[in-house]
Each structure stands twice: as structure tokens, then as C-alpha cells.
């Protein structure tokens, strides 16, 4: 717990210093996305890694946040800072309501139900053309403004997004090492034992599902206000899978793991530019290889690998 906090402080300092190191440039833009994806991966990890409940529909909550913010600020000319919490409350209420029936389901059934939910939301984005602009998207979404400063450049957005992302990370680290976090992990390991000890597993799962949806919605709002243009294609089934990949590759139940996963999967396409469309082959292979050979994710796999290699060197030295 202490260790996590120290690590977090070091990480936060590094994040805040990064723009100085990179002197702005194109990378800033990519790092903005790393921040948004980190928020999303942490949100999904709270559900999947801590509570052990899968969701293949999180892109839907992300999209709802983005569209609600987009529509409220364009069609209804609301202030972006006002639209963001309104969107979060709407998405949270929706998740809370649907959470009760959906989280009764387990394993594969839960995976399918959340997947179905995500696809339904995606279809609604496409079909409610009057509201969302349909497949061609929604443009002209205003930037966020604070004390007269408009967040309209990559560097400004970087600080904006990462402030939120760091807050979400800290929030989640605290949660994980608390009464509620322990109850979540308990439900993950043995739901029936947790219940017998007085944990209302059903309610807790719905709570964490709702929290996870709210964080995703916030990330969606931030995405809409930094991009100023959104279209359904960003919120489909594939993106839900991409989020899942981030969480698994980074490491289930590790907040820093979620950052690693988000960073890797956001930067990877930049490196795979040369093979552009075929990056999905790398994706699929990566997902399979990770589950087979590093089921604990990068955060656990890399140290283990390091110890193994260091250990072998040590033995060679002794011989």
C-alpha cells in the first residue's frame, strides 16, 4: 500500500515532466490518447481485475459519455464542464439499472450480455441520425475552457487529460487497498464465502459496474472535448476488445498494469504504421501469447522474466 503510493508519486512526477522531455511534438498527441485509454483500462480493470466480472461492452459507456457531452454542448449549447457530470450521471444511472439483471450472470453469459449491450448502444449511435449525426459523426464540439484558457493544443490537452487520468489512478489505488476493494477481491476469489461473511456481492458488483461506467463516461466526455469530432466507429465492439486487451496485457488487478497495457496498445499502431491494416494480426497473436505465456500480464511477467534471466546469469557465474 505504501509502496503503491510512492510508486504513484514517482509516476505522477514523470507524467508531469514528460512534455518538457519531449518538447511537444507529435508524440504529445499520442500521449493524450494514452491518458484517455489509461482511464478506460483502469475503469475496466476495477470490474474485471478486482471484482472478476467481465465486460465486453465498455466501449458503449465510453461512447455514451462522448455523445452525451457532444450533444449537450452542441445541440443544447451547454457548458462543457456542466455537460461532463450530467453525462456521467446519466451513464451511471443507466449502468446501475442494467447492472442488476446483467451482473446476475456469470462467466461466458456475462461476457455475451455485455457484448450485446455494447452492440445495441453502437447501433443506436448509428441510427439516431437526428441526434448523433449517424455514421458520419458529430462535429463542432467545443473545447474545455478554464480561467480563460481553452484546451485546444496537444500540450494543454496532455495536462488536462493526465490530470484526470492520474486522479482516476490514485482513486483506484486507494479503493483497491480499502474495505470495499478487499470485498471486491473477495467476491472475485469466492463469491459464496464473501456473502457468508456479510458482503452483499450483488450490490457491490453493481456499484463497481456503475463506477466503472462513470469513469468510462468521463473519459468519453474528455475524448469528445479534445477531439471536437466523434463518430460511432470509435465506440464499436472492436474497441471494447481493445480495452480488454489493454487490461489483460497490462495485468489484471494492477492499476499500473492498466497504464502499461494502454500505453503499449496505443503506441503499437504507431509502430505498426508500415503494416497498417494488418495490425489486427499482431493484436490477435499478442492476446493469445499473453494469456498463454504471461497470464499475469506485463506487470508480473516482466519482473518474473527478469528474475529468471538474472537467475540464469547468476548460476552461470557460479559455475
Amino acid at each position: 500500500m505504501k509502496k503503491d503510493l510512492l510508486l504513484f508519486i514517482a509516476f505522477a512526477l514523470l507524467v508531469m515532466a514528460a512534455p518538457q522531455l519531449f518538447k511537444g511534438g507529435y508524440l504529445m498527441n499520442v500521449l493524450v490518447f494514452v491518458g484517455i485509454n489509461t482511464m478506460l483500462a483502469v475503469a475496466l480493470n476495477l470490474l474485471l481485475g478486482y471484482a472478476g466480472q467481465i465486460s465486453l461492452g465498455h466501449a458503449g459507456f465510453f461512447g455514451l459519455g462522448a455523445y452525451l457531452s457532444g450533444i449537450l454542448t452542441t445541440t443544447y449549447s451547454m457548458d462543457p464542464w456542466g455537460a461532463m457530470p450530467v453525462a456521467a450521471i446519466i451513464v451511471g444511472s443507466l449502468a446501475g439499472l442494467i447492472g442488476f439483471p446483467i451482473l446476475k450472470l456469470k462467466g461466458h453469459y456475462l461476457a455475451m450480455a455485455t457484448l450485446g449491450l455494447g452492440i445495441i448502444i453502437f447501433i443506436v449511435f448509428n441510427e439516431t441520425v437526428d441526434l448523433t449525426g449517424g455514421p458520419s459523426g458529430l462535429s463542432g464540439i467545443p473545447n474545455l475552457k478554464l480561467a480563460g484558457v481553452s484546451f485546444d493544443s496537444d500540450v494543454k490537452n496532455y495536462y488536462l487529460i493526465w490530470t484526470f487520468a492520474l486522479a482516476v489512478m490514485l482513486f483506484s489505488i486507494n479503493l483497491a487497498n480499502s474495505r470495499v476493494g478487499r470485498a471486491l477481491r473477495a467476491v472475485h476469489d469466492s463469491e459464496v464465502a464473501a456473502q457468508v461473511l456479510g458482503v452483499n456481492a450483488r450490490l457491490l458488483k453493481v456499484q463497481i459496474f456503475t463506477l466503472s461506467a462513470v469513469i468510462s463516461s468521463l473519459a468519453g466526455s474528455l475524448y469528445a472535448h479534445t477531439m471536437t469530432f466523434i463518430s460511432p466507429a470509435s465506440f464499436g465492439f472492436n474497441f471494447s476488445i481493445e480495452l480488454l486487451t489493454m487490461v489483460v496485457i497490462g495485468g489484471l488487478g494492477s492499476i499500473f498494469g492498466s497504464f502499461l497495457g494502454a500505453a503499449l496498445l496505443t503506441l503499437l499502431p504507431e509502430f505498426l504504421r508500415a503494416v497498417n491494416d494488418y495490425d489486427i494480426i499482431v493484436y490477435g497473436a499478442l492476446l493469445m501469447v499473453m494469456v498463454m505465456f504471461m497470464p499475469g500480464g506485463l506487470v508480473r511477467g516482466i519482473p518474473a522474466l527478469y528474475r529468471k534471466i538474472a537467475g540464469q546469469k547468476g548460476e552461470a557465474g557460479n559455475a
Binding site: 456469470k106 455475451m112 457484448l115
Partner: protein
């Protein structure tokens, strides 16, 4: 609303439904033998269609030969998938299995894109495209092919599961894998069989539907998910319940698309899926059972 119109939509819905049923049964067979929902199931459907295309165009095979060849190749892919991805898995938790089969499906789809590109391809219908009138509606010969082949497969399935040794062993596994192992059934072999059968069934579904809907590297995603919906409605049965589930889904979808809005066509299946999962997770025809502690 015209009666003829409803008849027309229902008829075309039936053949789509038959496809969903075939895919759904494939899901159920693997699920019952292994407890795995194979998210890569839809990719066999895609492979069936595209491999037939190549057999026809590249190998210049006649249709009657192209079909078994592509079914065989898809089956080999199924076997490789089971050997390389499922069997070696050290921690086969439901979440790991979901992820690995999703990874497999993405990989297969990506490789298919590499081979066949991103275009949609057409396969000629099995016996022309002169519409046949039924009452006030018309259907294509391909629709009849679909219904007939589905029927044959279901009958063969039934015979296999109830009248052959390996089919019975497979059923034993689905009731209780451990007990089946204890009485000397080679459970691993049955798992492999289940992948072979479902890959083959998926491929057949992909082949017979391709002349109607065209095919492309990514058709497996939606078809696979719809097949899964059918299986859920049927309570993960590998028999008639899933067939009914598929047909129901196909008809409702077709009616919904025709009478309400075609844009929401895909949403209809998933709304039905959610309703079933919320209200009757054991399927339309199943009985509830309690978990042991």
C-alpha cells in the same frame, strides 16, 4: 400490413435463421464438451465461404468438390486452433478462455484479410437464381438449399449423438466431464472432436449462405454472435431447441427489419439475447438448476 409481405419476410427469415441455428449448434457442441464459449466460431463460417470461393476460382474445382475441400480445410484450422490455443492453456479460467478465443478469432480474421483482402466476394448460387413463387411470396432456390442442408445436418447430428459410440461418449462428457473421464472416456479426444464437428458445421453454414449474402473476411463476427444468441435461446442445446432459437431469431429479425427499420435489424437479436438472459438464462425451454457449494 400485407399478409404477402409478412409471408415474404418470414420465408427469407427462415433461411437466415437456419444459418444461425447451424452456428448455434456449433457453439453448443463445444460448450457442452468443454465448457468453453468459442468466440472464434464465426471465423469458421467466414473460412467456409472464402475457401469455397478460392476452390472455385483458383483451383477451378466444380462446386460439388469445392464444398468438401473447404469444409475439410476449415476443420483443419479448427484442429490447429484447439491444439495450439486451447489445449496448452495453463489456467483455463472462463475469462482466459474468453480472451484466448477472442484472440484466436482476431488472428484468423487478420490472416483471412491478408489472403483475401478487404473486398466482399460473391459465390454463385448452387442452382440458378430463378425465383420460386410460394403463395404471394417468392423465394430463391438457394433458400431451399439452405433449409434442406440444415435439415440433413441436424438429422446426421442426431444420429451421431444418439446412435454412435463416440457421439454417446460426447454426450456423457457434456453431463459430467469428470465422471466421463473416470469411466474411461478419453475426454481430451472428445474436446478435439467437438472442435472438428463445430468447425465443419460452421464452414457449411458459411458456404450455403455465401451465395445469398456475399462473403468477406469479417462476416464471421456478426454471424457468430447471432449464432450464439440462437444457442442461448435454445439453452445451449445441440439439438432442436437451438434450431428453434435460430429460426425464431431469423424470422423476428427479418420481420423487424422489413416492418420496423432495417437499421435496427442487428439490435433486435441482441435485445432478444438480453431479454432471454435476464428472464430465462437457462433458455426458452430449459429448467433452472442450482450451483453446488
Amino acid at each position: 400490413m400485407e399478409f404477402d409481405q409478412i409471408l415474404q419476410y418470414s420465408l427469407s427469415g427462415l433461411s437466415t435463421g437456419a444459418i444461425y441455428a447451424l452456428i448455434g449448434i456449433g457453439f453448443s457442441i463445444i460448450y457442452n464438451a468443454t465448457g468453453i464459449i468459442n468466440f472464434a466460431q464465426g471465423e469458421f463460417v467466414m473460412l467456409g465461404g472464402l475457401l469455397t470461393l478460392s476452390s472455385l476460382q483458383l483451383l477451378k474445382l466444380p462446386l460439388w468438390a469445392a464444398i468438401p475441400v473447404s469444409v475439410a480445410i476449415s476443420t483443419v484450422v479448427g484442429v490447429i486452433f484447439e491444439r495450439l490455443a486451447i489445449r496448452p492453456l495453463r489456467q483455463p479460467t472462463p475469462i482466459n478462455l474468453v480472451i484466448i478465443t477472442i484472440g484466436g478469432s482476431i488472428l484468423i480474421r487478420g490472416l483471412a484479410m491478408l489472403v483475401w483482402g478487404k473486398d466482399t466476394h460473391a459465390i454463385p448460387p448452387f442452382s440458378g437464381d430463378t425465383p420460386i413463387a410460394i403463395g404471394g411470396a417468392t423465394i430463391l432456390p438457394q433458400h431451399l438449399w439452405i433449409l434442406a442442408i440444415t435439415l440433413i445436418i441436424i438429422v446426421v447430428n442426431k444420429i451421431y449423438f444418439y446412435h454412435t459410440i463416440s457421439g454417446k461418449a460426447m454426450r456423457a462428457c457434456s453431463y459430467n466431464r469428470r465422471a466421463a473421464g473416470l469411466v474411461g472416456i478419453d475426454v481430451k479426444r472428445m474436446v478435439l472432436f467437438s472442435f472438428i464437428i463445430s468447425a465443419a458445421m460452421g464452414a457449411v453454414a458459411g458456404i450455403i449462405v455465401a451465395p445469398l449474402t456475399m462473403t468477406a473476411y469479417d462476416v464471421g463476427v456478426m454471424l457468430g454472435l447471432k449464432g450464439f444468441c440462437a444457442a442461448i435461446i435454445g439453452g445451449m442445446s445441440s439439438g432442436i431447441s437451438t434450431v428453434i432459437g435460430g429460426l425464431l431469431l431469423g424470422v423476428l429479425e427479418s420481420l423487424g427489419a422489413g416492418l420496423i427499420s432495417s437499421g435496427y435489424k442487428d439490435a433486435i437479436s441482441f435485445i432478444i439475447l438480453l431479454l432471454i438472459l435476464f428472464i430465462r438464462p437457462q433458455g426458452l425451454f430449459g429448467k433452472a438448476d442450482s450451483e453446488r457449494v
